[in-house]
């Protein structure tokens, strides 16, 4: 046994033990106070932090509205895709992970770093989109590195699928990620980084309608970012589908007819302003923008001398050439000057001491002969008699030198010179000699194809001018506020009436009809169709009388045609840059008018086929092949092989049938030609 000295009887002092007891009490109170501070005083703060820890808002992307043509045929579709985003909230330094991320997602490390730098100023809780439309392999990489790279997250989205080969690209436009600069503007205040917005065409104008509203899911995650459940969901509201006024058949015909020429085609219904087709060539592939476009492709688009990104139908501002003579005629006839005017053309004439050339020796002619033959001398004389301001007054009232107000972004206004314009821009008096050139559509006058289509179509409609548009607000049930917003955002001459005297109307329309029968466009004469129009061969600055097609000094080729001649249902404006003679464009317009008339006649004629036409047609082959096969929901592989002959893949059946019909169709009775009535009313 243990018997240490002095161990018996010795006791610990009670005082010391009491001190220890109080010490322990004090410690316990301190700990309890600490608990009180955390669990009672700051409970709200910590509850919030706990929620932030485990609940993450994952966006549910709204599907963008699809685009259909006027017969409900699908033009622009969506396909499901997965994007990768980087969340900076994680408790870690992301910089060290970048090389691994770049490798796994096949990104350029420097580009990834610069992406992160661009978002540095944004709040930390906003995820950074780092790659869109990731492949299955890349998805597997993210899944496999959940623990090492918890900052990566994937979201499902719907991605735009555009027609391939740039079909209708300029009118559709494209979508892209909203840029950092845009985000700082008030217009984009509601947008977040990575949001997709329309950047051109209908996609931009109608973005608000098409985009829908993203929803979100409150996802419960563990400390590794693994999803372990979800609390609630706010469903996305998909965007509204839009029905365009475009007719795929006409659009396709127009694109094929224009072929490889640089230029534009506008096909419009002058009764209501509905655009049936809008072509600009060369085109681009909007699908390249749907996923972020790479720098090389972008530079190529920007540096291409033929300006593929430019919508030439509304942005190309060029001298109208002889097509302007229709406006001159209207002015002259309305002023009462042109009716009894007889001019002797001897291959030109001398005005203000200078000799102005005409193509031919036309001899003595009046206005009814001058329009189809496009005699310059006649219109030089008319221009001299009218004076620049009268010409400008009429031209302006027909919409020259102003935007038309079409619902597409960045329309150009063109130029209509006048004494006032000269003073304002050059601070000098207008030189009267310039009026002579203006009279034949040269000089400083600049128009867009769309302006010409609206102006000439309006004159042929007796002075009824319309605002061109691609989306019918009534058919698409757009809200009145939105309709007004569109009108305010795209101001222009719009719908307007400039009453023309009946004889003005008759003389001009007959003159244009003669142009396609015996005049400058006689080669494009269409049997059985009341086809009228006016050619234009507009010399370019510094260009002489060179006539090599496509050369830099070769004239621009114009044609504006319509059918029927009075109160037309369709007006077609064709521009071929450096395309030489206007008659060459007349040929393109003739093909489009033929396609239109044949389709319409067949539809009106055969009610059984008409019923078939009204049904939505599967037009699968219009789209670019999406990468994986399972995305190809419209996969009409059979259709591909059938349709590959042409440039574009559009439902062929009715049109092809119409073409074969047309070739064997008995000619319509001759009286139809002279009847200024609509086809519909002509049908027995």
């Amino acid at each position: 046994m243990y018997f240490g000295s002095g161990s018996r009887g010795e006791k610990l002092s009670t005082l010391k033990l009491t001190v220890v007891q109080y010490g322990i009490l004090f410690m316990m109170l301190a700990l309890a106070a600490g608990l009180w501070r955390l669990q009672v005083l700051r409970v709200d703060d910590y509850r919030m932090q706990a929620e932030q820890n485990r609940v993450r808002k994952v966006p549910v992307m709204a599907g963008r509205g699809k685009l259909f043509d006027r017969e409900n045929r699908l033009i622009v579709d969506n396909y499901p895709s997965v994007s990768c985003r980087l969340v900076r909230e994680q408790n870690r330094n992301v910089d060290d992970d970048l090389p691994l991320i770049a490798r796994g997602l096949n990104l350029d490390l420097e580009q990834l770093r610069s992406t992160l730098r661009r978002y540095r100023a944004r709040p930390v809780y906003e995820p950074i989109p780092i790659k869109q439309d990731i492949s299955a392999d890349e998805q597997a990489f993210i899944e496999a590195h959940r623990n090492e790279l918890p900052e990566l997250e994937t979201i499902d989205e719907e991605r735009r699928l555009y027609p391939r080969d740039g079909f209708a690209a300029h009118l559709i436009g494209y979508v892209g990620e909203v840029s950092e600069e845009d985000l700082n503007q008030t217009r984009y205040a509601a947008y977040e980084p990575g949001d997709v917005v329309g950047k051109a065409g209908v996609e931009e104008t109608y973005d608000e309608v098409l985009r829908g509203q993203d929803g979100s899911r409150d996802v419960v995650v563990d400390s590794h970012g693994r999803e372990v459940g979800y609390l609630g969901i706010q469903h996305a509201i998909p965007g509204q589908d839009l029905k365009l006024t475009i007719d795929i058949d006409i659009q396709r015909t127009a694109e094929l007819a224009l072929g490889d020429a640089n230029g534009a085609v506008v096909v419009m219904d002058p009764r209501n302003g509905e655009i049936l087709a809008l072509v600009s060539h060369p085109s681009y592939d909007p699908n390249a923008f749907a996923v972020r476009i790479n720098r090389n492709d972008w530079n190529q688009l920007i540096e291409n001398p033929n300006h593929p990104l430019m919508n030439k139908a509304i942005q190309d501002q060029l001298a109208p050439g002889s097509t302007f003579k229709i406006i001159m005629s209207a002015a002259g006839l309305q002023e009462g000057v042109a009716q009894d005017m007889h001019v002797n053309c001897v291959g030109g004439g001398t005005f203000y001491g200078r000799f102005f050339h005409c193509d031919k020796h036309h001899g003595v002619l009046n206005i009814s002969q001058a329009i189809p033959l496009s005699c310059d001398t006649f219109f030089y004389t008319l221009a001299q008699k009218l004076g620049i301001d009268t010409i400008a007054q009429y031209a302006t009232s027909f919409g020259i030198g102003q935007k038309t107000g079409i619902d597409l972004p960045d329309e150009k206004a063109g130029v209509m010179p006048s004494t006032q314009w000269e003073m304002k821009n050059y601070h000098q008096k207008y030189y009267a000699g310039n009026t002579i050139s203006v009279g034949i559509g040269q000089g400083e006058t600049q128009v867009t194809p769309l302006q010409l289509a609206r102006a000439l179509g309006g004159i042929a409609s007796g002075g009824h001018f319309v605002r061109p548009h691609l989306v019918d607000p009534v058919a698409n049930k757009l809200s009145p506020e939105f309709q007004q917003g569109i009108k305010d955002s795209f101001p222009g001459s719009g719908d307007k009436s400039v009453p023309l005297n009946p004889d003005t109307w008759m003389i001009i329309t007959d003159g244009m009809a003669a142009a396609t029968t015996t005049g400058t466009a006689a080669a494009s004469h269409l049997e059985g169709i009341d086809f009228a129009g006016k050619t234009g061969t507009a010399q370019v600055v510094g260009g002489g009388d060179t006539h090599t097609k496509g050369g830099a000094k070769t004239p621009n080729s114009w044609f504006v045609g319509m059918a029927p001649r009075r109160n037309p249902e369709i007006v077609v404006a064709v521009l071929q840059e450096h395309g030489d003679w206007g008659s060459l464009s007349a040929h393109i317009a003739a093909q489009i008018v033929t396609a239109y008339v044949n389709k319409k006649r067949m539809a009106d004629h055969n009610l059984r086929d008409k019923a078939a036409l009204d049904k939505p047609v599967e037009v699968g082959a219009v789209w670019t092949e999406p990468a994986p096969a399972d995305h190809h929901r419209h996969g009409a592989s059979g259709g591909d092989s059938v349709l590959h002959a042409g440039h574009f893949m559009v439902a062929p059946a009715p049109l092809a049938a119409a073409k074969s019909l047309a070739s064997s169709h008995p000619l319509l009775p001759g009286w139809l030609l002279s009847m200024p009535l609509r086809f519909k009313e002509e049908q027995p």
């Binding site: 322990i24 009490l25 410690m27 316990m28 608990l35 820890n53």
Partner: protein, 365 residues
């Protein structure tokens, strides 16, 4: 002279409180490991507790005076074991703490804790409660300092630190006077400051760990993250807690090792302020009961043994709970009777067994 010792003399009140804590521990370990790879650890903890109880009964049978007789031998063996760990120990997570004898793995440093309680009690009891000379104080320092140094180089800072309260309690109760205490405090402070600023003994990451409780951003990936998550867990528990197995921090794997070092945070999250204070009260009553036992002990050595146990338990509770609520650095000291772990459970029950032993023999002589 041996009198029959009845189990009526056993401290049933203490045992009930201890078992109450053990029950809470088993339930909380079950809840905290529910969705982790540690699922099922509550059953293992039950076995540890059963083993601990058996060892406790065994130890209460042996007269503590005999234990004090044996303790110098045990001390020597303990030192040898610590050296052996250095030579043939297993490396776990970068530290050599474990040694194997046949199929049994054990941590000598835990046993040394118990040995130190006994030998320090023996040492100061032999001095008889008189004023201490400097030589006697230094011997006490050497007695505790030698094994402490051996544990420190394992390295196991946490366990080494738990040796200090044994020494402090021994000195305080053994008869140190105010002047000596002041001198020692000053020296100790100077030593700590010296070690801290020398820049050689503590590596920067260790310093970051030790200060991260003040500013968690000092060590955002390691202990700073742990402290932050622990604070969120405890704080978000509120007054009544989120309910058993419903703590988002615990179940979502945000809270580090919620069944071991941070079990109090898990408990605080799921059972709130009320639950946490209830646990603290249990600890408080256990400690008060032990101190009462120390007062009624038959002799000075018995009192000193119990007070050594009280010192170690108090220190562990203060440091562990302090860590969980952001008052103390993360040192890896488990919460006695709550944290999962065989060595910790066994030590606590053995220590309590010795304390029981003293109480059961309070009427001897």
């Amino acid at each position: 002279m041996r009198r029959f010792l009845s189990f009526r003399d056993f401290d049933w009140t203490l045992l009930v409180m201890v078992l109450a804590l053990c029950t809470l521990s088993v339930f909380e370990i079950y809840s905290a490991t529910l969705h982790t790879k540690y699922v099922g650890f509550h059953t293992k903890q039950l076995f540890f507790i059963a083993g601990g109880l058996a060892a406790m009964l065994l130890f209460s049978k042996i007269d503590y005076h005999r234990l004090l007789d044996w303790v110098p031998w045990a001390y020597g063996i303990g030192l040898l074991a610590l050296v052996a760990v250095r030579l043939v120990g297993h490396r776990v997570l970068g530290a050599k703490r474990w040694i194997s004898v046949g199929p049994v793995h054990f941590q000598p440093s835990e046993w040394v804790k118990l040995i130190l309680i006994l030998i320090v009690a023996r040492y100061f009891a032999n001095l008889g409660g008189h004023s201490l000379t400097w030589r006697e104080i230094l011997r006490a320092f050497a007695m505790v300092g030698l094994p402490m140094a051996l544990v420190l180089i394992q390295p196991d800072l946490g366990t080494a630190l738990t040796y200090t309260p044994i020494l402090v309690a021994g000195l305080f109760l053994g008869g140190i006077n105010l002047r000596q205490a002041l001198v020692l405090s000053v020296c100790g402070t100077a030593l700590i400051v010296g070690v801290w600023s020398s820049g050689k003994i503590l590596k920067p990451y260790q310093k970051a760990r030790l200060t991260s409780f003040i500013n968690p951003d000092n060590d955002p990936k390691g202990t700073g993250y742990q402290i932050k998550q622990s604070l969120i867990a405890v704080g978000s528990g509120g007054i009544w807690g989120k309910g058993a197995a419903k703590g988002t921090q615990t179940q979502g794997d945000f809270l580090p090792i919620p069944h071991a070092d941070f079990i109090f945070a898990a408990f605080g999250e799921e059972h709130g302020f009320v639950g946490a204070v209830f646990v603290l009260l249990l600890y408080f009553f256990i400690l008060m009961r032990l101190i009462q036992n120390a007062q009624t002990a038959a002799d000075l050595s018995g009192s000193l043994i119990i007070m050594g146990v009280v010192a170690v338990l108090t220190f562990q509770i203060a440091v562990n709970v302090g860590m969980v609520i952001g008052f103390m650095p993360v040192t890896g000291i488990p919460l006695p009777l709550m944290s999962y772990g065989g060595s910790s459970v066994l030590f606590t029950f053995l220590a309590l067994g010795v304390a029981m032993n003293v109480r059961m023999r309070r009427f001897v002589n």
